[in-house]
């Protein structure tokens, strides 16, 4: 555990903060690079993506605010600076996704930008999540529920005692954050390999979110978060409607056969170089489609 990366005098650099900033910076770099490669990088994108970052930061805080009102009350009563209270309040990646999505949609609508850039976020989100979760693994306890599996991770009693709440920290724990890192790496590889096979704009991101939310639902069973209702944790209760909405979207698309790209008008005889084009040079393989 390395909760503090650097400390000098009154300056403390938290590991989690460093990895969070690194994740946002690298995520934005991947997003901009992807847009530039597609010839879509322009000023309105900069504004919209700034709104996404702000919405994500705010959403990450708001979604957890209801969980610990006593933290705010106790911190204010203790005379803690407001900035410290906001900085150390809870945050959730699910709130960040929801806040970022709402802000992005609002920004694009205000800027009258109608083309979907959602797919360009997919790889950026997967990579950024992997980086951010490494920060979580290095700085948060508990890592997960207790386990006797060989890869269970134990921490020393001194480290466990330095955390306000650490149920099960005396035993080896599931490294649940590393499970998410592994998932994100696999997701990033899958996006790179197969994104060109998804014909509908925005569906690469939706597929990623569906997979990420489903995985998060499962990993919560070994995460060690507090059970809120129906035997489920807070994040599980949040992802259920998100998964339902995404599943409904894909069911609707399947019924409407949206993934069947409309046939293009045939080339007039003598115009197209049909006979001279080697089939293997086509960058897009349409063979996956149901026709």
């Amino acid at each position: 555990m390395i909760p503090v990366l650097w400390r000098s005098g009154g300056i403390v650099v938290q590991t989690h903060d460093v990895f969070s900033l690194l994740a946002v910076a690298i995520g934005l770099a991947i997003y901009y690079r992807s847009l530039r490669a597609a010839g879509m990088l322009e000023p309105r994108i900069i504004i919209a993506s700034s709104a996404v970052v702000v919405g994500g930061v705010i959403g990450a805080r708001i979604i957890t605010a209801w969980e610990h009102p006593t933290f705010y009350a106790d911190s204010i009563a203790a005379g803690a600076p407001v900035s410290w209270i906001v900085e150390h309040s809870g945050k959730s990646i699910l709130g960040a996704l929801a806040g970022g999505y709402v802000a992005g949609v609002a920004a694009k609508r205000a800027l009258r930008y109608t083309t979907s850039t959602a797919d360009h976020y997919a790889l950026a989100l997967a990579v950024a999540t992997a980086i951010g979760r490494i920060g979580c693994y290095l700085s948060e306890l508990p890592l997960g529920t207790s386990t006797d599996l060989p890869w269970g991770v134990a921490v020393s009693p001194a480290v466990a005692a330095s955390f306000a709440r650490c149920p099960g920290c005396e035993l080896p724990m599931h490294p649940s954050m590393l499970y998410e890192v592994l998932f994100s790496v696999v997701a990033a590889a899958a996006i790179l390999r197969w994104r060109s096979r998804v014909p509908v704009r925005g569906d690469v991101l939706r597929l990623y979110l569906l997979a990420a939310c489903s995985f998060r639902f499962l990993v919560e069973f070994v995460r060690g978060n507090q059970v809120e209702a129906f035997g489920l944790t807070g994040p599980q209760l949040v992802v259920i409607p998100m998964v339902a909405v995404l599943v409904a979207h894909f069911v609707r698309e399947a019924r409407a056969r949206t993934w069947e790209v409309p046939a293009a008008p045939a080339a007039r005889p003598g115009v197209g170089p049909v006979q001279t084009r080697p089939p293997s040079t086509a960058p897009f393989d349409p063979s996956w489609r149901v026709t």
Binding site: A38, G39, M40, E42, P43, R44, I46, I47, S50, A51, V54, I58, R61, I62, A65, W66, P69, T70, Y72, A73, I76, A77, V82, S83, I85, V86, V102, A103, A106, A107, A110, L111, R112, Y113, T114, T115, S116, T117, D119, S196, V198, P199, V200, R201, T258, V261, P262, A263, A264, P265, A266, A267, V271, G272, R277, A282, P283, F284, D285, P286
Partner: protein, 178 residues
């Protein structure tokens, strides 16, 4: 080439460039013709203000903002971010101390709703201000228009915060924040 252009225009909002290009190639069109059609149609430029020019390429009809506009947008962004950050904390602070004895828990629905309204207003304000700035000509072309656009964003910033502060004070006065 109009049929390729029409096909791309009709489908580019829903389908990816790769998917449409693949269909056109399947139909026997020359890849060079397809690429040329994408250039003409402006598949890389999204939005309603993408329009073909006389030279056949596309650009925003409002023109490209200059570096001065970008700096102003960044300034507005920093302003909204910092004021928004302090505003959320301020609402929570007011919710704790307003309308009664300090120490009451802050977990009521009203402060949460106030924060949500405040955040939505801040994001909307920033988006509007940014859009307004980007629609203005560059600094070199019209400093007064830029100044007006920037002034609108500042007025919005104060307006949103003023409305929120008034709301929090009014809610505190009736004890709704306890």
């Amino acid at each position: 080439m109009n049929e390729i252009d029409d096909y791309i225009r009709a489908n580019r909002e829903r389908y990816t460039r790769e998917a449409l290009t693949g269909k056109l190639r399947d139909a026997g069109h020359d890849p060079a013709d397809i690429e040329a059609a994408w250039e003409r149609v402006g598949g890389a430029v999204g939005g309603e203000d993408a329009a073909p020019t006389a030279s056949g390429t596309t650009r925003g009809t409002r023109g490209r903002p200059g570096i001065g506009t970008f700096l102003l947008v960044l300034l507005v962004f920093a302003g909204y971010a910092s004021v928004g950050y302090l505003g959320v904390a301020g609402i929570l602070f007011s919710a704790y101390y307003g309308g009664g004895e300090p120490g009451a828990p802050v977990g009521s629905v009203v402060p949460t709703a106030l924060v949500a309204v405040y955040v939505i207003a801040m994001v909307a304000g920033f988006v509007y201000a940014g859009a307004r700035l980007l629609r203005a000509p560059s600094v070199s072309e019209g400093a007064s228009a830029i100044a007006t656009a920037f002034g609108v964003s500042v007025a919005l910033l104060f307006g949103i915060n003023g409305a929120c502060i008034a709301g929090v004070l009014a809610a505190s006065a009736v004890g709704a924040l306890r």
